[in-house]
């Protein structure tokens, strides 16, 4: 202990210029810091807004399609097909129509109606519309009819205000003949993938997604809920339970592509399940979603107060009855919210499905769990790789559909949470 006298400290004089300047500097730093925080938020939110606006701007055009009213005189057309066979319907009619040379007939009709070279104004899939029209009304084959067929990508983007020089004159000619109109593209919501961007649809991919999600939900939900119940309510604290907990927490953080490798090695190469099938996709995504459901489920179960359990036990319920009659119903809203969020994540997942071969070109919607299928995010990925510029707006349109589905699911989760959440 030194006895040196402590010099009496002068109280700080806050009024001096130096001090005032120092305070001003500190306050300025405070304002700058605060502004930086605000800027960080605004820029992050701005990025989200920019992303959505870009997708909307490009994608809304994808929901419309330009169609040309094409007059076809079937009585003079060079096609050999019996109207009675078509009227009979079934496979016979389909085969007869497929071999009737409709693509040629459609192209000739365009040249006749709008002058030579007009066949290039039509989409490659234009004859499909003619086929469907004949299928719907075989009587057309005996007369001259006007059928709306999709226009080519060039004409389509010209009609939507993005003309190329060649398409401009064609467009003027078609407008002059009053044979062109742009309307809502119902085919986009009802068809599957195709090689021509003017006739593609997302229904095939959407149906594949729904089937895959069905398998995922069917497996991940019961297993996830059961595992959560066991770990939270019954598990003794020992090394085994620790191991289960550690693996669940780690599985939740494993990159999704690893699950794809697992699916490829186990489901395809070991069990020889069919490639690109919704059932394999569903299995793979279920393994990925299950940890999410377990973690959400455990939190929901944890929040049910012990008094409920004690009361049920007190009047003679068995541990299983306590859980299934009381704890589970009370925790269910929380579990469901977690499940929906996990399912939304699985629905947007692409990488693991690429690994198990769901990137094939599939032109018909899958009709079962083992049919080759693709899913919405993979379809977006495939279209984004296409060179034809007509696919750009279709990709953005598919993204809009995906985002709308995801937003609905998340909205449902938030609604459920707000409606059923109990504060104990």
């Amino acid at each position: 202990m030194s006895d040196a006298p402590v010099p009496a400290r002068q109280p700080t004089d806050w009024k001096t210029q130096a001090m005032q300047r120092r305070i001003r500097r500190r306050y300025a730093a405070e304002r700058r810091f605060r502004l930086m925080g605000l800027a960080a938020i605004v820029i992050s939110a701005g990025f989200l807004a920019f992303l959505l606006v870009t997708m909307l701007g490009g994608g809304l055009r994808g929901f419309t399609r330009t169609e040309i009213a094409l007059p076809i005189d079937f009585t003079k057309a060079a096609m050999i097909v019996d109207p009675d066979v078509i009227a009979g319907g079934g496979d016979v009619a389909d085969r007869a129509l497929a071999n009737a040379g409709l693509p040629r007939v459609t192209r000739d009709a365009a040249d006749q109606a709008f002058g030579p070279g007009a066949e290039r104004w039509l989409s490659d899939g234009a004859w499909l519309s003619v086929r469907d029209a004949i299928k719907a009304d075989p009587a057309l084959l005996n007369k001259r009819a006007v059928i709306d067929v999709p226009a080519s990508t060039d004409i389509d983007s010209a009609a939507k205000g993005d003309p190329s020089p060649a398409a401009t004159t064609a467009l003027a000619k078609l407008r002059g003949a009053d044979a062109i109109h742009t309307g809502f593209n119902t085919a986009f919501l009802s068809e599957a993938d195709a090689t021509d961007p003017t006739v593609v649809g997302i229904w095939g991919a959407l149906k594949g997604s729904l089937l895959t999600m069905f398998v995922t939900l069917l497996l991940a939900f019961p297993v996830g809920v059961f595992a959560a119940l066991y770990l939270e309510e019954y598990a003794p604290r020992n090394r085994w339970t620790d191991l289960i907990e550690v693996s669940i927490n780690n599985l939740a953080a494993v990159p999704s592509i690893i699950f794809g490798l697992l699916g490829l090695a186990v489901f395809l190469n070991t069990f020889h399940l069919p490639r690109s099938a919704p059932v394999v996709g569903g299995l793979t995504l279920a393994l990925m979603t299950m940890p999410v459901i377990v973690i959400a489920g455990r939190n929901a179960i944890k929040s049910v107060p012990p008094s409920i359990r004690d009361a049920a036990l007190g009047i003679g319920a068995s541990p299983i009855q306590v859980v299934f009659h009381h704890v589970l119903p009370l925790a269910l809203p929380g579990i469901l919210t977690g499940t929906i969020i996990g399912m939304a994540r699985a629905l947007g997942e692409t990488a693991p499905l690429l690994m198990i071969g769901m990137r094939a070109f599939i032109a018909t919607p899958p009709s079962g769990l083992t049919d080759p299928a693709t899913v919405l995010p993979v379809q977006i990925f495939l279209w984004s790789d296409e060179v034809s510029h007509g696919f750009v707006e279709k990709t953005s349109a598919a993204i809009i559909v995906l985002l709308v589905v995801l937003l609905t699911m998340n909205g449902l989760a938030i609604y459920l949470r707000n409606k059923f959440e109990t504060r104990w």
Binding site: R34, E349, T350, L354
Partner: protein, 433 residues
Amino acid sequence: MAFRRGGVRRFSALPGHYGWYVALWAVIPALVFLLVWASVSPALVTDQVLHDPAAQALPQFDFARASILSEARHIARGDIAAGFNPLSTTLAPAYAAAQSRFDGIGTVLALILAFAGGAFAYVRVRPDFRARTRVERIVMVALLAASLIAILTTVGIVVSLLFESVRFFRMVPITDFLFGTHWSPQVIDSSDPGATLGAVPLFWGTFFIGAVIAMAVAIPFGLMSAIYLTQYANPRVRRWMKPILEMLAGVPTVVYGYFAALTVAPAVRDAAVAIGIQWASSESALAAGMVMGVMIIPFVSSMADDSIAAVPSAMRDGSLAMGATSSETIRRVLLPAALPGVVGGILLAVSRAIGETMIVVMAASGVATLTLNPLASTTTVTKQIVDLLTGEASFDSPKTLAAFALGLTLFVVTLLLNIVALAIVKRYREAYE
């Protein structure tokens, strides 16, 4: 209740439990039998077909034999109309007959088992029979089995990755793979496959995009957002802005990838060309990394949010009472105190970023270069896994197997990152509790 009032002896379980008991006995043994039968019967069917006179003509070689048999099976099932080999068409009826015979046997046996099980259980049902305990024991087993699936999945991942990787490392020395600096799987010299399968450029690219560029975006934005939302924003702003930020994490990665490839990458390239860098790649590491960083913002933000909230308020109040401004309190007191939690969160975010696939698949290039230049093209582990496995190569080539070795590396690295991060976060939480 009714039966007790009548003076009958007490039942030891609810009526429903007896019903469940009988039902479970009827269903479970039969189901187990069907599962076993499904795995055994194909061999029995094939065995019977081989005893068919027509099968004497089968070639002795295993491969040709198996392919003809498999064709015959498909014809018998009606999957295909005719086989490549005429022998398979002659074998098909024998196959169909054997199949239907064993299917019939299986169905009858399952029905007998179901009936026997049900009858056995029904006979045991007595008023003093403890059906509830028995039923609940089965429910317990089901619950335990469900939670074991998590372990099974982990084991499945490790085993399948290890198995294929070991096959890969038999062809390519592990040192070549881990330390080689030349990666071009398109040209594999079969005498020395390790020469073009050195993964160091991939590890660097992954680290550069995921841990450097992405974090350079995500850390400042995520951290500042968390600070603003917890310390400055009023509750209403907080209630609105938090979900909006979280939406960034909810956008599917394929959408980010499309956005990065179509909008950000050309913009980055144009900007680079505008300032005089003519050689800027249109598949630059910068574009992919930036978009990935934006995706990671909410992770960093919510982890930082949690750790800042866990700092005892006495420390904050003390600092403010000494006359420090809010920003001084945050920078000198809250952040240092929350640092372990923030670092743990950042490690988790890095593990997330290096495992991210779609953004790099769509926006990064496939050319592996060892470069420090963010405008040059770089590739990542995940991008290469996708590229390797979507080619035409057969499953036994070093090219396809390399994907599993890369997957194993990725798995191990993310696992280590997660364990370290969780340990840091946990220890830090305990320090303040």
